[in-house]
């Protein structure tokens, strides 16, 4: 193996060059620039700013503490709801179970702003539920928490189902014969096995909620917006770059700490081992059927209802003949979304394939693919703004930033696929006369097609729903569907809200197409992209929101 690595070192270097430059110029350098700005106080002309200001100022302290609190509360809620749901899905066999597991991927491709509008369509002003029940949740934390759960409950449930599949049936059987009740055997055998997996997924949930932007911007309101929204407001509206950079520095430190915890947990988990999983049973009595029905009902209310609400609102708006829904502005935004996403997808695929090929030989390089997952888009955008002030309204920078945020999905899916590819297949091809390139083209690529498709679909969904970077770096004429939805939300009147709902519906349809590409059932080759890999990839994959 050592000899093979040595043999390929020059090739690895060239393969790694492009992704390394992209990561360095578009992620690491902007973060370093931002860190320097926060630390050195270069925008602190009046000298009234300190590194500790976020903890000294009441207003900023509330923003930071609330950001932590809303992420922590979401984690608790996601675990409390997600673990029983995962248990039901992992232990009971019922018609439609596989479909439900597939649908759990759905929120991962729904753009943040669509989710935010879904929550508003249910609970916002004239929302389907709020107006029926006569309650008003505006200016409460519930809208944001509901939005957070919409995205993250599925993540915890998927991780839980995967983890419960790792529980060894023989150990459970042994515990039962030694006198443990089902409940005791859960606590003493199943929980220790699944806890690290759940903790790992909760780290991701925390990161996504803590560093989330779109949901907090739309649903947080004045009082319950997060630090990310505050950074955006300071940069875009108040031009307080000093305060923004200090806040961004603290965000970097806090997210970095949680990301390190996540990496440590992932390392401990390692590769899933083959065990004899606990067999699923058909629900027998009313109590068990009630558990299945309850689980499906909770999933429907949290993860599906907001999507239905948007469709209902959009159809109603079209039915009542709302005007100006598809004006030139909307069509231009649709066109921008499509062309930006297409270019980003091509770039992301190129970067992702190169990154994955090198990742086979280097653990550090593999870990680097996680970087864009854990860094908030607002931080990246702000860093790019500081580092390349003259290019802030340039299309190449915008598209390159899109690609860097999207390519880890391709890299991660392909790496998992490559792990599952027996080395003998490529060796056989080489001895049958195929050059390295021909071997990649005729053997590796066709076998990895399902993994590549999966990664590209996630990357496409990320590009379609990109919001934060576009808001920071775009020009008015480059408005995409997400930024136009946000603009319409900011304008007064029911007509604008209707238009936002219709645009959200269009965006969601595009995201659904990506979802169908991911989860469309295909007959996959026995050796590549096995179920284990697919689910593991899935559990680690969400779009950053």
């Amino acid at each position: 193996m050592a000899a093979v690595t040595r043999l390929n070192l020059p090739r690895s270097f060239w393969l790694a060059l492009l992704p390394a430059i992209a990561l360095l110029l578009l992620l690491l350098a902007p973060l370093a620039r931002l860190g320097f700005a926060g630390f050195s106080g270069e925008f602190n002309a009046l000298g009234d700013l300190s590194l500790w200001q976020p903890w000294q100022d009441d207003y900023l302290r509330w923003r930071v503490l609330w950001s932590v609190a809303q992420a922590a509360i979401t984690c608790v809620l996601a675990l409390a709801l997600g673990l029983p749901l995962a248990w039901v899905l992992a232990r009971f066999e019922f018609a439609g179970r596989r479909l439900v597991l597939r649908l759990l991927m759905l929120p991962f491709v729904v753009p943040t702003l669509v989710a935010a509008l879904g929550v508003l369509a249910l609970w916002g002003p004239r929302g389907l539920i709020s107006s029926t029940l006569g309650i008003n949740l505006q200016d409460t934390p519930w809208l944001l928490l509901y939005g957070n759960l919409f995205f993250n409950l599925c993540l915890v449930v998927r991780a839980g189902v995967d983890a419960l599949g790792q529980v060894n049936a023989r150990q459970v059987a042994a515990a039962r014969t030694l006198g443990a009740t089902p409940w005791r055997s859960f606590w003493r055998i199943e929980w220790p096995t699944i806890a690290p997996w759940l903790m790992s997924s909760l780290c991701l949930v925390f990161l996504y909620c803590f560093a989330g932007f779109g949901l907090a911007l739309v649903l947080g309101g004045q009082r319950y917006a997060t630090v990310e929204v505050e950074i955006y407001s300071l940069v875009a509206y108040e031009l307080q770059l000093g305060q923004a950079s200090v806040l961004a520095l603290w965000m970097l430190l806090l997210t970095g700490a949680v990301a390190l915890g996540y990496a440590a947990l992932e390392k401990r988990l390692g590769a899933p081992v083959r065990t004899e999983p606990v067999a699923r049973v058909h629900p027998r009595d009313a109590r068990q059927w009630l558990a299945v029905a309850g689980a499906l009902a909770v999933l429907f209310v949290v993860c599906a209802l907001p999507i239905f609400a948007i469709v209902i609102k959009a159809v109603y708006a079209l039915w009542t003949g709302a005007s100006g829904l598809f004006d030139a502005e909307a069509l231009a935004a649709l066109w921008n979304t499509l062309r930006f996403s297409a270019v980003a997808l091509v770039l992301a695929t190129l970067l992702g394939v190169l990154h994955a090929l090198v990742a086979q030989a280097s653990v550090v390089w593999r870990a680097l693919a996680f970087l864009p997952f854990v860094v908030s888009p607002v931080t990246v955008a702000f860093g790019l703004l500081l580092l390349y002030p003259s290019w802030t309204a340039s299309l190449p920078l915008l598209l390159a930033a899109y690609a860097v945020l999207a390519y880890p999905f391709v890299a991660k899916a392909l790496s998992a696929g490559l792990d599952g590819l027996p080395a003998h297949l490529t060796q056989a091809a080489r001895t049958l006369g195929a050059s390295p390139w021909r071997c990649f083209w005729r053997v590796t690529l066709p076998l990895l097609a399902p993994a590549l498709r999966r990664g590209m679909a996630f990357a496409a969904a990320t590009a379609l729903g990109e919001f934060a970077i576009t808001l920071f770096l775009s020009r008015p004429e480059w408005a995409t569907l997400t930024t136009l939805i946000y603009q319409r939300l900011g304008r007064p009147g029911q007509a604008n809200l209707d238009a936002a709902m219709v645009l959200a519906c269009v965006l969601m349809t595009l995201a659904l197409l990506a979802f169908l590409l991911i989860e469309w059932p295909v007959r996959e080759h026995a050796t590549a992209d096995s179920d284990g890999h697919g689910s593991r990839v899935g559990s680690g994959m969400t779009i950053s929101h």
């Binding site: 000899a3 093979v4 060796q427 080489r430 001895t431 049958l432 005729r442 053997v443 097609a449 050796t527």
Partner: protein, 219 residues
């Protein structure tokens, strides 16, 4: 003639191959015996060009091919897990090497079908390889290896994944087919009976060095 000259190779701290030299004449089948982890598969990978030795060289017909990449050596390597390409059907698996020799696809497929007929596998030509039995997969792998008319055939425990009855039946069939093709063949195995049945002579890899196999009745 395939020649391995003074091969040295380490795996981590362990000296796996120590001054190993071996010659295999055209038309000769040599069995390479050894326990698990003795380095026999590594030696085969070095002969195939998939791995580069720390020291030593590989020669064919008095030409040093140590720096020649595996695809240009004109050898065929058969693996114990068969290494059939799961995305291709039986016919395209067999045609794979011909297409790499720049034969037009149609011509390659026709030749592959003829080869499958010789092996009695033509009814399976359009089948996906994972639907085949172990013995059928092994035959397809041999057909795929032989169709390119390799200068040398390298077999890495080719029967270890098969059950005992099939193993005995196939090794007779393989020996006859390999003899008919008449190339230098190096057979790696840990099974002395298999070496006895298939090979002209046998050598054993012990503590990194080659010794003549005393039990081998080959010849």
């Amino acid at each position: 003639m395939l020649e391995l000259r003074h091969i040295h190779h380490r795996y981590g701290d362990q000296l796996l191959l120590q001054d190993v030299s071996l010659q295999v004449q055209a038309g000769e089948i040599v069995a390479l015996l050894g326990s698990s982890g003795s380095g026999k598969s590594t030696l085969l990978a070095i002969a195939a060009g998939l791995q580069r030795p720390d020291a030593g060289s590989v020669w064919f017909d008095d030409v040093d091919i140590s720096a020649v990449p595996p695809e240009r050596r004109g050898f065929a390597l058969m693996f114990q897990d068969f290494a059939l390409f799961p995305h291709l059907n039986v016919q395209d698996n067999v045609a794979f090497g011909l297409i790499e020799q720049r034969l037009p696809k149609k011509e390659a497929r026709t030749q592959a079908l003829q080869m499958l007929e010789v092996f009695g596998l033509s009814p399976l030509a359009q089948r996906k390889v994972w639907n085949l039995s172990g013995g059928e997969q092994q035959r397809v792998a041999l057909a795929r290896a032989l169709i390119t008319r390799p200068r040398a055939l390298l077999l890495d425990e080719p029967f270890s994944a098969l059950d005992a009855d099939l193993r005995v039946a196939l090794r007779d069939e393989f020996r006859n087919r390999i003899r008919a093709a008449g190339m230098a063949t190096l057979l790696v195995t840990h099974d002395a009976a298999e070496a006895d049945a298939m090979a002209d002579r046998a050598v054993r890899l012990m503590a990194g060095q080659l010794v003549p196999d005393c039990n081998g009745a080959a010849g």
